[in-house]
């Protein structure tokens, strides 16, 4: 087991390398230049532009720039933001807690909503109820995140005043206020994922309830609740766990939209700003961090299978 985990962790390195090369190349292929973004619309002085480009090291060939960046990373340093001059490590340390909390909160809410809804839909005899939940989940998948977020703000913050808008105190400092403040953005992020989970659970349940061992359990006289909980759910959850691993990737991406709408200074927004301003080092750092997180989450997911299905063992 330890060897398996170690192997997976070692594989992280080539993944990160390939991603970093891809992102670096893409950034240099698209038009736009960080030096120009810094100088803005004030003048078109070519000497000034050349000077700023020299300062940023942009006058060197692309592979030299990549090499220097790689050297810094290996030395443990993310470098400094081209746009603001601030050390990227510090920027990430400020931004990560917001995004990670948002993602975890969203996954929990998505499971809390999705699994029961999916279970109900998968076990109910009523065609109407099942149909209603199908429609609901379809809506959840289709409604654009930025619209859902804006509607939540309007309804719950402005009109009902149930939740504050734009208040994100640190979790350690004010736990209750923090949970209240993050609820709407987490819910917005959770909606499409809850819908996906609900559908997956429903499908799993429908598949599992036809199995022989379920009929046996019912024949033994066990109550429906026990049948569902002890015999059906664990098996139905296996594909859902896979889904959560994939969802983790989308969460980190969907977080970009949610962070924009709810003005959360997280990693998603940092990455978006970096693209807009052509802040190459920041973008590289964000992409690397997100990739690493994604790989780690999937590793955890793979290890979770062992808990759910005793037949699964890693050599």
């Amino acid at each position: 087991m330890q060897r398996y985990v170690a192997q997976r962790l070692v594989l992280l390195i080539p993944v990160l390398l390939v991603i970093s090369v891809l992102v670096f190349s893409l950034m240099h292929l698209i038009p736009g230049d960080p030096a120009q973004v810094i100088l803005g619309f004030e003048n078109t002085d070519p000497e000034q532009l050349a000077a700023v480009r020299r300062d940023l090291g942009l006058d060197r060939p692309v592979y030299v720039q990549y090499g220097r960046w790689l050297g810094r990373i290996v030395g443990g340093e993310f470098g400094t933001s081209v746009r603001t001059g601030r050390p990227i490590g510090a920027l990430l340390r400020e931004a990560l807690p917001f995004t990670i909390e948002l993602a975890i909160y969203a996954v929990l809410l998505a499971m809390l909503i999705g699994i029961p809804v999916g279970t109900l839909a998968g076990t109910t005899r009523s065609r109407a109820a099942d149909g209603a939940m199908q429609t609901l989940t379809l809506l959840g998948l289709s409604l654009p995140t930025f619209w859902v977020g804006a509607m939540f703000i309007l309804l719950f913050s402005v009109h009902l005043r149930w939740f504050p808008v734009l208040t994100y105190p640190a979790l350690a400092a004010a736990p209750l206020a923090n949970l209240r403040g993050f609820f709407l953005p987490a819910l917005t992020l959770a909606v499409p994922n809850a819908a996906a989970i609900a559908r997956m659970v429903r499908a799993s349940m429908v598949a599992v309830r036809r199995e022989e061992y379920v009929k046996v359990a019912r024949a033994k006289g066990l109550s429906e609740v026990v049948v569902v909980r002890r015999h059906m759910l664990k098996n139905a959850l296996i594909p859902v766990v896979t889904l959560i691993g994939i969802v983790a990737g989308y969460l980190l991406g969907g977080a970009i939209v949610v962070e924009q709408v709810f003005a959360i200074p997280g990693v998603g927004r940092m990455g978006l700003q970096a693209i807009v301003q052509r802040d190459y080092p920041v973008l590289q750092a964000v992409v690397l961090t997100v990739t690493a997180l994604f790989v780690l989450v999937n590793l955890v997911v793979d290890l979770t299978y062992v808990l759910l299905d005793p037949r699964i063992r890693y050599a």
Partner: protein, 518 residues
């Protein structure tokens, strides 16, 4: 007797009403934190290097220049310089500094700081985009600790107007040594100092020894602190001011579409003022067929500017030419008197034919992505230009790509917003003169060049007005680009915020004289 009683009663009522009215005029209260919502990220707080508008919204309260513009009247007023004089030949400007100004570290302001500031801006190592503005400066002499003389290389009547913004804000001598990294640390003379520069927000706290006092002699500013919150989404920004999370929303994203839904809300106040900035349609005069002035004129004749103001600005804007309509002392000509301003589709088609072109003429249009109005305007223009024989293709690119194409003149036309200035030379020269630093249109006309050069060389105000009147017509005739309209500026504040004046210059300095009533 009865009459006297009546009069006596009337007087008593009058006196009572007067004292009641006096009691209702609120006196400024000290304390509290003013929270401002803006949509643009705050990136760089170095006053001489920053270019983003959001930076200046913060810098307005931290750094000051020698003069300032009155937020209401837009007239020049003393600031760090309590008085100044200009030599008869227009080359020597002598500034007498106030003696009670200190930087946020307590050190006193003196003439060496002014010299150091100008030197810093002009130093190529600073890479300051402001250097081109101060190019006329030849020499800065320290006459005595509180008197500075600036000698220009040629007469520049717009020079004083240049010294009114934080982009030429006064920093102490040895600025870099004292402050470390000026992009993230500040050291100015303004009413507030930087306390925190975090992700998504900037917090400023009151500088207790700020020199300016209000009319009653109380030291400004009133509020203890000012927080700028970055809220990128315009809808969320509106929700924030409605729910009381912020006290004021201002800047990009706060326009007629933002203000209108908030108009009825009881604890909000909508402020609006004519803008100095203007929307424009840039035309690449170096690219065929736009090299032909008739084609450019045809574009102007195909445009229905009034309709654009109605559709894009909800009627809250003024169609005008090269001089902002709010600068009355420069005699902006009414739009209807400017050549090529009244929509005439038939004439436009005629001009195209005269230029030897067969409609439809393909035109690419690049709206600036950071201004939502620009995209709307492009769509309206596409519809307006089609009957005149133009086939418009709108290209949507991201900001950095737009900037790159703007700079390299890789466009047919673009739609954008240009900042304005109170002096017509600052407003126009660099965009329109053939040697102008932002003349990406590659426009070159001898008459226009001559008028611009003459107008910036004379200090005689009436002569300058005359020249700019000729220039307005020449510009409308030769069409370096299309001036479309000067829209109204908006800001929305909670009624608890008193004393804030929205200025056509978009300056945030009035916050120093604003207070929160509890």
């Amino acid at each position: 007797m009865k009459r006297f009683r009546f009069v006596g009663l009337g007087l008593a009522v009058l006196l009572f009403a007067m004292t009641a009215a006096q009691a209702q005029a609120p006196a400024p209260q000290r304390g509290g934190t003013i929270r401002v919502g803006i949509t643009q990220e705050i990136l760089n707080l170095d006053p001489h290097v920053a270019t983003a508008f959001s930076s200046f919204q913060v810098l307005d309260l931290v750094y000051e220049s020698l003069l300032r513009l009155n937020p209401r009247t837009l007239q020049l007023e003393p600031n760090l310089a309590q008085s100044w004089s200009v030599s008869p030949n227009g080359l020597e400007y002598t500034f007498t500094l106030r003696r009670d100004v200190t930087f946020h570290d307590g050190s006193a302001l003196d003439a060496s700081d002014v010299k150091a500031t100008i030197d810093r801006i002009l130093d190529p190592a600073t890479r300051s985009p402001q250097a081109s503005f101060l190019a006329p400066v030849g020499e800065v002499t320290i006459v005595n600790p509180f008197v500075v003389k600036v000698t220009l290389k040629q007469p520049t009547p717009s020079f004083l107007a240049l010294l009114t913004t934080p982009s030429r804000g006064i920093v102490p001598a040895n600025f870099a040594d004292k402050v470390g990294d000026p992009r993230v640390k500040t050291l100015g003379t303004g009413p507030y100092m930087l306390a925190e520069f975090g992700p998504g927000s900037v917090r400023l706290t009151r500088y207790e020894r700020y020199w300016r006092k209000d009319a009653a002699g109380t030291r400004l500013p009133y509020a203890d602190a000012v927080i700028y919150r970055v809220i990128p989404d315009a809808a969320t920004l509106r929700a924030a001011v409605r729910s009381g999370e912020v006290d004021l929303i201002i800047g990009f994203g706060v326009d007629i579409t933002a203000a209108r839904p908030l108009a009825g809300v009881s604890d909000l106040r909508i402020m609006s003022v004519p803008d100095l900035s203007y929307s424009l349609v840039g035309i690449n005069a170096s690219k065929v067929p736009f090299t032909d002035v008739r084609v450019r004129q045809a574009l102007s004749l195909a445009t229905d500017r009034d309709q654009i103001v109605q559709v894009v600005y909800g009627g809250r804007g003024t169609v005008a030419g090269a001089i902002p309509p709010t600068l009355e002392e420069w005699r902006p000509l009414p739009a209807r008197t400017l050549p090529n301003y009244r929509r005439d589709v038939a004439r436009a088609r005629q001009l195209l034919l005269q230029a030897g072109l067969t409609p439809p003429v393909a035109v690419k249009m690049l709206p600036i992505p950071t201004v939502p109005d620009a995209v709307q305007m492009a769509q309206v223009l596409k519809e307006q230009w089609t009957p005149a024989g133009f086939n418009v293709e709108i290209e949507q690119v991201d900001f950095a790509t737009f900037l790159s194409r703007w700079r390299g003149s890789q466009f047919d036309t673009f739609v954008s917003l240009n900042g304005g200035a109170v002096d017509p030379d600052l407003h126009l020269y660099r965009h329109i003169h053939s040697t102008g630093s932002t003349n990406v249109f590659k426009f070159k006309d001898a008459t226009v060049d001559q008028l611009l050069d003459q107008a910036r060389a004379t200090a005689d105000q009436s002569r300058r007005v005359q020249l700019y009147t000729q220039l307005q017509r020449a510009i409308a005739e030769q069409v370096p680009f299309l001036f479309v309209a000067y829209a109204d500026l908006f800001a929305v504040a909670r009624t608890q915020l008193n004393g804030f004046v929205l200025s056509s210059t978009r300056s945030m300095t009035p916050l120093a004289e604003s207070w929160l009533s509890r």
